[in-house]
Amino acid sequence: MTESEADLWYSRLSDFARSRQLGWVVEEVEAEASMGELRRSKLDVSEAVVDDEPAMIPVGLAKRRKTRATFVVARQFTARERLALLIKALEIAVSQHTTIANHVASYVSEQLGGAAAQFAPELETAEGFRLSPNETRPAVEAGQHLDVLLTELLREVEDAP
């Protein structure tokens, strides 16, 4: 996959995610991408050598010592790496999330004789929602199929020369 193909895939996948109310996932990916990839790197540094009479030496003529020091360096992600971040985020937001939701729905149902899990805010203006295993189980199966597809796509992105 070339960089321009990766850009195109990113654009189409993020547009689709936004159309399915997953704009928050795209926002989290873009926040992560804007930070860049952080790593520690040894760089050459040139430090002024402190003299007994520093004020006597004209600026630019002070003795300098070359050393190496460790810095945290941010590198901008490539288009392919940014696409990989989006694919992994969608996997977490959809496949992983449905597994967690199914766990919660099944746990509550098992512990309380078939009761549903309800999520309710204290504020009357905000909306809540319910989860039951009948709803979450089919989503988990669909999520597993999605996982296979996203893994295939991710492999294509990461294996590209």
Partner: protein, 226 residues
Amino acid sequence: MPLRPSMLTEIEAALGAALLPSLTTASAASDIYEAYLFSIVVEAARSEGANVMFECVGGGIPNPFVFRTSPGYIASSEHNYGYAVLAFPTRPPLEVHVGIRVDGHSHVLHECDVCVLFQDEAQLCRAKAPLMVAPRSSKVIVAVEAKHYTGGVPLHLGRAFLGLEADLSAECVFFVANRDAGSIEKLLAHKRRRWDSQITPLQSDRVSRLHHSFRNAFKDFKAKFS
């Protein structure tokens, strides 16, 4: 191998089928994640010998079991919020709540995503209703800060956790995330704080490790109150 031309359509179809209607905001994902960690805490207590019962603010057995989706007061009766009661033989009973505010050292109220506290403190707060009394953090045994992120977990959450922990007198305060949290893991390991990451039902080894960490917290509680 080139991608199939139909790949994007297949992904869109699978994504549509897997998407739960409730998952339209980051906060809904976080709410469900808190409920998931609640279940791990409760099961850790059961493994450590607690008898577990589920109750709700209005009394009786909850049906449905209502979780808070925004930080609230333990005595709130806006909804019939549920909680778990943990009864360790010969020890004071405990309660497990999701998303309640607790009173820190500084008397600032903090949200505990999952909170294990003495039942007498919880009952005292409920008895004062309609006054909304926040439990004292010195009565909290375990507090869990839950973080559900699809992208990188921002470092400021680690710094905020250090501040939260410093202002709580709780015995054990945990930072738990659903995915890797590189910089935060480094920060919290360096500061010798309790943390775990990639905690999801798909990572049974990691869940088991966290389960044991919670068990240790209950083991210490049992020893102190034996």
